[in-house]
Symmetry: C2
Subunit: 384 residues, 2 copies
């Protein structure tokens, strides 16, 4: 490489809580990472395979001003392989992304493979979806992979149950997740290099008692931050929010809280209102590619004939490159013609909507107007 990004570690991981909304418990803060500061609450674009699908690293920087993105350990482990990425200077340099990266543990992907995996006490045995080869993820090994990747925030291996699950199955699974978290954290403490944080994940399916139990046990790890996993697995939305309401108040105020895999734009303020600081979801980018564009006043299904001659931008209130330069008619044309640039323009827009919403939420919290903001968003989403 001719020109490398500055990869010096600027500071160890630290969460700074700035403002807590007295009415809702919504928080504004800053994640200080080795690759820059991340104002929270934050939505993390998903960069599964060392790229956010459809856009470039410079688009994430210049168009979206994203401060942190998510990488998928499962995918990077299989291809190109974490040792290859380590050799090439780590994930940040590999993908020319100088800011923060959070990597998941690979657990969620492995548990999505269904017939291709087998859970044991040691970890989870699975077959690659690429070529059928057998692989094993243990609490220790997935952290080793993430250390090779060099992410700023690593996640511990957890077991993700499908919904619904019996209380008995959920209890057994939660206990395994706890044992794995303890093993992972012991490994993390023994290897910690001061620049990578590590979050355990609260499981417990949709059972409040298991969620509380899991949370209390994980608190003993005095972790850098805590995630709530096992949501967005097909349960009713009210239940996901209920589980969040059960867990969040038990978590220490001084640590960031991350709800994994949510959500639709109108869910973002709801999770923030329940004390959540971090979220991620493939929805904005995946929906973009599938022709589903988000706006402040509803969705635009871009292939619809009503947009054939529509000279308006996707969202007249949006300042993204797409909305400032192109019509719905043009995007519809590119979509129907299967043009690659459609995916780029659509992804730039949808991610901008998510990041703008999070920016508004943070600003509302900082100036003490979050409850009013939340009410207005709820009213708007009812009428849409």
């Amino acid at each position: 490489m001719q020109k490398a990004h500055p990869l010096q570690l600027r500071s160890v991981f630290r969460f700074e809580l700035q403002v807590t909304c007295p009415e809702t418990g919504a928080r504004a803060g800053v994640l200080h990472t080795a690759h820059g500061d991340v104002p929270t609450p934050v939505f993390m674009p998903v960069g599964t395979q060392a790229t956010v699908k459809g856009i470039l690293a410079r688009d994430l920087l210049n168009d979206l001003d994203a401060k942190i993105i998510l990488g998928n350990t499962y995918h990077l482990y299989l291809r190109p392989g974490h040792e290859t990425i380590r050799k090439l200077g780590g994930l940040h340099r590999f993908m020319a992304w100088p800011r923060a990266v959070l990597t998941d543990s690979g657990g969620f992907q492995v548990f999505s493979l269904d017939s291709l995996r087998k859970v044991t006490e040691e970890g989870v045995l699975f077959r690659s979806h690429l070529n059928g080869d057998s692989h094993m993820f243990t609490p220790e090994s997935t952290l080793d992979v993430q250390m090779a990747l060099g992410s700023d925030i690593m996640m511990v291996l957890d077991e993700c149950l499908a919904y619904p699950a019996s209380h008995e199955a959920a209890r057994a699974s939660t206990e395994r997740t706890l044992r794995w978290a303890r093993a992972a954290y012991a490994h993390y403490r023994s290897r910690a290099n001061g620049s990578q944080a590590c979050f355990p994940i609260v499981q417990g399916s949709m059972y409040a008692d298991l969620r509380r139990h899991c949370t209390e046990q994980l608190l003993e790890l005095d972790a850098d931050g805590y995630a709530i996993g096992g949501l967005s697995v097909g349960e009713p939305r009210a239940l996901s929010l209920e589980m969040t309401e059960t867990v969040a108040p038990l978590l220490p105020a001084s640590r960031p809280r991350y709800v994994m895999g949510v959500g639709m734009p109108d869910e973002l303020p709801e999770y923030v209102a329940r004390g959540i600081d971090m979220m991620d979801c493939v929805l904005p980018s995946r929906n973009a590619r599938n022709g589903y564009l988000f706006t402040r006043s509803g969705r635009v299904i871009v292939k619809q004939a009503q947009y054939k001659d529509d000279p308006r931008p996707v969202d007249e209130t949006c300042n993204c490159y797409t909305c400032k330069n192109f019509s719905r008619a043009y995007l519809r044309h590119l979509f129907l013609a299967s043009e690659i640039s459609y995916a780029t323009l659509a992804t730039l827009h949808n991610l901008r909507v998510y990041l703008d919403i999070m920016g508004e939420i943070r600003q509302a919290i900082l100036v003490g107007r979050f409850p009013a903001y939340l009410r207005s968003r709820r009213a708007a989403s009812v009428t849409e």
Copy 2:
């Protein structure tokens, strides 16, 4: 649209010849168009369906500093339709491209359809590759389509023969092309708005006598510029150059000369050495998407295992975004993972190689060193 590009017509079309190489006949000049000046010799990236595949309009502006691109009348006529584009402010505004556009006549695509078309004296009847609907292109109608698109340079309808063709078939076809060109130019003169230029196309298969005859006849039109078509249809490369050598000296020095559909990087100086000012080809963008990257010292077939851990950029001498930020290993990974951003990065690079070569050629002509440049390129391509 919230923000439109300035679409005021700045000037009528005019070609300014700056320098002619006394040894080779290579020319440097400027095409003055209603959408800006185009220094020549120029390579025009192909934007088939109102987008250069894989990249954005701003990439063409900011990364490549392209001054002119090509649009395909056949594709835009069928989808989204020229009337839709006219309604939306013309092709420039539709695709947010403020600089010059050349549109072909649609003839080349129609003649590539083979079984789907029928040539008559009036024009060519064909079936849409999208839905099988019947359509007719006449010399007049394809110009009307291009007027609706609002391109800066329009091409007249010509008949493209497959290679090889008998002299008799080629003669008949050349005569038809001539009749069509006269009809088209009469139509153009009656509708000319002062901002759109129109080029007829020299045909004649690989027969020098027919090429000469066709050229002499077309000169009577006193056209804005002249194209040489019917090359790159499968003939040996020496024959394409020979036909160019036959035609170019007959064309008026005061008019731009455009060879359609060429070529490989090492062909660019060869055509310039034969007095050609304009070229276009899908090779750089199509090869990019297929994993074939051009460098100054040969090709990089990106999927090859030799690049698995290769930290070097595609071309260490290249200043494109791709080469300044990403390794061959990263591009290989994105290619194997079928990531959209691979196509973008690869296209940015390959087009940059082409535009840089043309920039070097122009500079060499301006400073009187083109013969030396040509010799060095020929020597390099022999050893590659």
